[in-house]
C-alpha cells in the first residue's frame, strides 16, 4: 500500500499529461502479453493483484510496471510508454465487480459463521 502511495506521488509529480491510450489495442496487448494470466481476463486478480478499480494514474501505472515488486518488471524496450498507455486505457475501461452486498450467495455464506 505504501508503495502504491509513493508511486502515485511520483506520478503526480511527473508529467501530468500522459498520452491517452487506445483501449482496443490495449486489450490485444493485455492478452498477448499474458497480463490476464495473473490478473484474470477482466482484471479482477488471481495469482496477481486486482487491477479493477485501478488505484494508480497512468504515470504511476507506468512507473510501477517499469519497476514492479513481485510482478515481473517490463522495460521500455519491451513495452514502450505508448503501449503501456494502451494497456492502461483498457484496464480503465473494465467494469467493476458487483458489490458483495448485492450477491445473495455471498450474503448467505456470511450468515453461516
Amino acid at each position: 500500500m505504501q508503495r502504491l502511495l509513493l508511486l502515485a506521488l511520483i506520478a503526480v509529480l511527473a508529467c501530468a499529461q500522459s498520452p491517452a491510450g487506445d483501449a482496443k489495442h490495449g486489450k490485444e496487448l493485455f492478452l498477448s502479453f499474458g497480463c490476464y494470466s495473473c490478473h484474470s481476463f477482466d482484471g479482477h486478480g488471481g495469482a496477481g493483484a486486482r487491477l479493477v478499480p485501478m488505484p494508480l494514474n497512468q504515470a504511476g501505472f507506468t512507473a510501477f510496471v517499469r519497476n514492479a515488486g513481485r510482478m515481473p518488471s517490463y522495460s521500455s524496450k519491451v513495452l514502450p510508454d505508448e503501449k503501456l498507455a494502451d494497456i492502461y486505457a483498457y484496464i480503465k475501461s473494465l467494469p467493476t465487480s458487483p458489490d458483495a452486498k448485492n450477491i445473495p450467495l455471498i450474503q448467505e455464506l456470511l450468515k453461516e459463521n
Partner: protein, 641 residues
C-alpha cells in the same frame, strides 16, 4: 556348469527347501501328456517350462507367444500354483482393491486373484496406465487410512509407475505394490520376458520406495508380504514394493503350504519425554505461538488432538496438505494482522515454511515434530532446504500430541491460562474479520466469463453442503477457494496435494479417493485442472467401468497455467516481450472437448460452460447422476487461477 544353469538349480533348491519334510498336500505338478488346458477362447493358457526339469530351451509355447503364432497343445496342468497361496497371504491383509494394467510377469497371480481368490479382497480394477494405478492407491489411502494394492508389470510397468510412487513417498502415504519379474534367466523366454525383467527390479524405484524385497520362495513371499504391509503403515507411511518372481507364482506348490505370518502393526514412534517437557514450556510461555501442521492428522483422531492442543494454548493453526484442523474454527489461520510468532510448532512439515524461517530469524524458537527426521534417504532432495531448528523431536506428531497436551495441562498455571484466554479472544476476533473478508473477496470477477474460481466454488457449496461430501482434489491451483468458502470439519473432507508436486496425480487420486468414499456413501468432488487431466485420461474409463461415483468439474484454463506465468517471468527477466509465452504452455488450438472426452470413456459429460449463469443447472444435473453411483464430468472454462 553355466551360470544360468546354476542359478536355475539354486532356485529349485529353494523351492524344494520350502517343501522339505512336509507331506505332499496339494501339488500335482504334472498330469498326463494329452491333457490340455485350453482357455474358453481356444487359446491354450500360459505355460511355464522347466518347472521340475533343468533349464531348457524355450518351449514351443513360449516361442509362439513371442512370435504371435499358435502354440503347441499343452501337456500339463498346474492345479495349485504358488500364486494361489500368494492370494491366501494377500487376503490375510484385508486389502479391498488392487489397480493394475495387465502384464505377463504377473499372469499367474492375476489368474489366481480373479479365480482362486474370486476377485474379492482384493477386487481387481483395470487401470489404463501404471501411473494411474499407483496414484489411485495414493488417493484411496488418504481417505481410508490404509493401503490399496497396485499390481505392476515388470520393469516397464514400474517405470510408468515411478512418478506416482515418488509422489506417494513424499506424501508419506502407504501403498502396497507388487511387481512381476522373470528373474530366472534360464527359464524365461527370449524377447519380452527378458526385456521386461531385471536383475534388481526394486533398484528402479528404491530411492523413493520405503522398503522393497524380492522373495525367493513362497515362505519368503509370505513373510515379505506381511512385513511390507506393516512397514507401509508405520509412520511415516510410504509405498512398499514386493518383486514377485514369475517362477514362484507359476510353479506348483510343493508339499505343505507355508504358514501365513501374523500381522501386528508397529506402534507409531512417540516423542522423548524430556523433549516434550521442553516443548510444553516453550509453548506455554510463548506470547504469540503459531502451529503449522502439514501431514499431521493420519486419522480423525489427529484432528481431535490438534483442536485440543490449539484450544489449550489458544494458538492459531495453519493447516496444509491434510484435514488437520476445521477451516472455520476460530483458531484456524495465522493470527491477527502483524501477528509475529515467537514460537512456531511445526507438525509433520515437509520443508519448514519460508515464513517460519523469517520468524526464526526475528528471534522465534522453532520446534519440529516429525517422524521423517528418523527415516531419511539419500538422492532425491525431498528433505528440503536445511532449516535451523531449536527443538527437533524425531517422532510421529499425532502419536506425540497426547503426551504434549498432558504436559501442557500439568504445567499451565491459572495466571497463564487467563493470559492465554485473552490472546484467544483477540484471535477469535481476527479470525472472524479474516473469514468475512475472504468470503467477500469472492465478489471479484463474480460475473466474469470465463468463470472465476471463486464463483465456481461458491456456487458448488449450497449444492453439496447438505450432502456427506469429500473434496478429492488439491486446492493450490484453484486459489484455495474451497478452504476459504467451505466448512471443512471432517477428516475425509480433504485429501491434500500431490506430495512431490508431480502432475498427473490429480485425476487418478480423485478416482482412488472416490473409490474409498463409495462404500461410505459420500459425494466425492474433484475440481480438476486440465493439464493434470491429460497425462493419463484413461482413468476416466476406470471410473466409468467400475461405477465409481465422482463429480469431476474441469477447471479448464486451457493451459499449463503455472508454467505460463513462469515463462512470462523469464521473458521479463531477460528483457524480452512476454507475448510468446503461450508457446509450449497453452492447451488451445484446438480446444480440448472434455464433455466428449468423458462421453468417449463412457460417462456423463457436459460443457464447455463459460457463462456463470449456466453453472448451477449443470452442477445440479451432475450431482443427481453421481448420487446414482456414476462418474460425471462437467467442463467449466475458467479464469487462469
Amino acid at each position: 556348469m553355466s551360470k544360468s544353469k546354476k542359478t536355475s538349480v539354486d532356485r529349485r533348491g529353494f523351492l524344494k527347501g520350502a517343501a522339505a519334510g512336509a507331506a505332499a498336500l496339494v501339488a500335482k505338478p504334472q498330469l498326463a501328456d494329452a491333457q490340455q488346458t485350453a482357455a474358453p477362447n481356444g487359446q491354450p493358457t500360459a505355460q511355464k517350462q522347466g518347472i521340475n526339469g533343468s533349464a531348457a530351451e524355450p518351449t514351443q509355447v513360449a516361442l509362439a507367444r513371442e512370435t504371435g503364432g499358435r502354440p503347441a497343445e499343452s501337456s500339463r496342468v498346474i492345479e495349485h500354483p504358488g500364486s494361489d497361496y500368494m492370494v491366501d497371504v494377500i487376503k490375510s491383509l484385508n486389502i479391498e482393491y488392487l489397480a493394475a494394467n495387465p502384464g505377463s510377469t504377473y499372469e499367474s497371480l492375476h489368474e489366481s486373484l480373479i479365480n482362486y481368490g474370486d476377485n474379492k479382497m482384493p477386487e481387481f480394477l483395470t487401470a489404463c496406465h501404471e501411473e494411474s494405478a499407483v496414484a489411485m492407491a495414493h488417493g484411496y489411502a488418504k481417505i481410508e487410512g490404509k493401503p490399496m494394492m497396485a499390481l505392476i508389470h515388470g520393469d516397464i510397468g514400474l517405470q510408468h509407475a515411478a512418478m506416482a510412487i515418488y509422489n506417494a513417498y513424499v506424501d508419506r502415504v502407504p501403498i502396497y505394490m507388487v511387481v512381476g519379474n522373470h528373474s530366472d534367466g534360464a527359464r524365461r523366454a527370449p524377447g519380452v520376458q527378458s526385456l521386461h525383467s531385471a536383475q534388481d527390479l526394486g533398484a528402479l524405484v528404491r530411492d523413493y520406495t520405503k522398503w522393497d524385497d524380492e522373495p525367493l520362495s513362497l515362505g519368503h513371499f509370505a513373510e515379505t508380504a506381511v512385513r511390507a504391509y506393516n512397514i507401509a503403515m508405520t509412520p511415516p507411511g510410504g509405498p512398499v514394493l514386493i518383486v514377485c518372481n514369475a517362477e514362484i507364482q507359476g510353479d506348483p506348490i510343493q508339499g505343505a503350504t507355508p504358514r501365513i505370518p501374523k500381522l501386528t502393526l508397529t506402534t507409531p514412534p512417540a516423542g522423548d519425554m524430556a523433549a516434550i517437557q521442553e516443548a510444553a514450556k516453550l509453548l506455554i510461555n510463548a506470547e504469540r505461538p503459531q502451529i503449522i501442521a502439514q501431514r499431521m492428522a493420519r486419522t480423525p483422531e489427529g484432528m481431535t488432538l490438534l483442536v485440543e492442543l490449539a484450544e489449550l494454548l489458544q494458538a492459531p493453526v495453519n493447516s496444509q496438505e491434510r484435514m488437520n484442523f476445521p477451516t472455520r474454527h476460530p483458531l484456524a489461520g495465522t493470527g491477527w494482522q502483524g501477528y509475529q510468532p515467537d514460537v512456531t510448532l511445526n507438525l509433520e512439515v515437509g520443508d519448514i515454511l519460508p515464513q517460519a524461517r523469517i520468524d526464526r530469524a526475528r528471534g522465534a524458537k522453532t520446534i519440529q515434530i516429525t517422524s521423517v527426521s528418523v527415516s531419511h534417504k539419500s538422492n532425491l532432495q525431498d528433505f528440503g532446504h536445511y532449516a535451523d531448528i531449536d527443538l527437533d523431536i524425531g517422532a510421529d506428531a499425532q502419536a506425540t500430541l497426547p503426551a504434549l497436551i498432558e504436559e501442557i495441562k500439568k504445567e499451565l498455571t491459572a495466571d497463564r491460562k487467563r493470559a492465554l484466554q485473552d490472546r484467544g479472544a483477540k484471535l477469535v476476533e481476527a479470525h472472524k474479520k479474516a473469514w468475512e473478508r475472504q468470503i467477500e473477496d469472492a465478489q471479484y470477477g463474480w460475473d466474469s466469463s470465463p468463470i472465476s474460481l471463486a464463483r465456481l466454488t461458491a456456487e458448488l457449496w449450497p449444492l453439496i453442503k447438505t450432502e456427506d461430501w469429500s473434496l478429492v482434489s488439491p486446492q493450490g491451483f484453484v486459489g484455495n477457494w474451497p478452504n476459504r468458502l467451505w466448512k471443512f470439519d471432517k477428516h475425509y473432507q480433504y485429501i491434500g496435494g500431490q506430495g512431490a508436486g508431480g502432475m498427473g496425480y490429480g485425476a487418478p487420486a480423485a478416482v482412488g479417493a472416490a473409490l474409498a468414499n463409495r462404500k461410505h456413501g459420500r459425494l466425492s468432488v474433484n475440481i480438476q485442472t486440465d493439464g493434470d487431466m491429460n497425462y493419463a485420461p484413461g482413468v476416466l474409463w476406470t471410473a466409468a467401468h467400475h461405477r465409481i461415483p465422482l463429480l469431476t468439474i474441469m477447471h479448464n484454463n486451457r493451459g499449463y497455467h503455472q508454467e505460463v506465468m513462469f515463462v512470462e517471468q523469464q521473458a521479463a527477466l531477460h528483457n524480452r516481450g512476454a507475448d510468446r509465452s503461450h508457446i509450449g504452455t497453452k492447451l488451445w488450438d484446438p480446444n480440448i472437448d472434455y464433455a466428449k472426452m468423458a462421453q468417449a470413456y463412457g460417462m456423463h459429460g457436459e460443457g464447455p460452460i463459460s457463462d456463470p449463469n449456466d453453472l448451477v443447472p449443470a452442477l445440479k444435473r451432475g450431482i443427481e447422476i453421481v448420487k446414482k453411483g456414476e462418474p460425471v464430468m462437467i467442463d467449466v472454462v475458467t479464469q487462469p487461477r
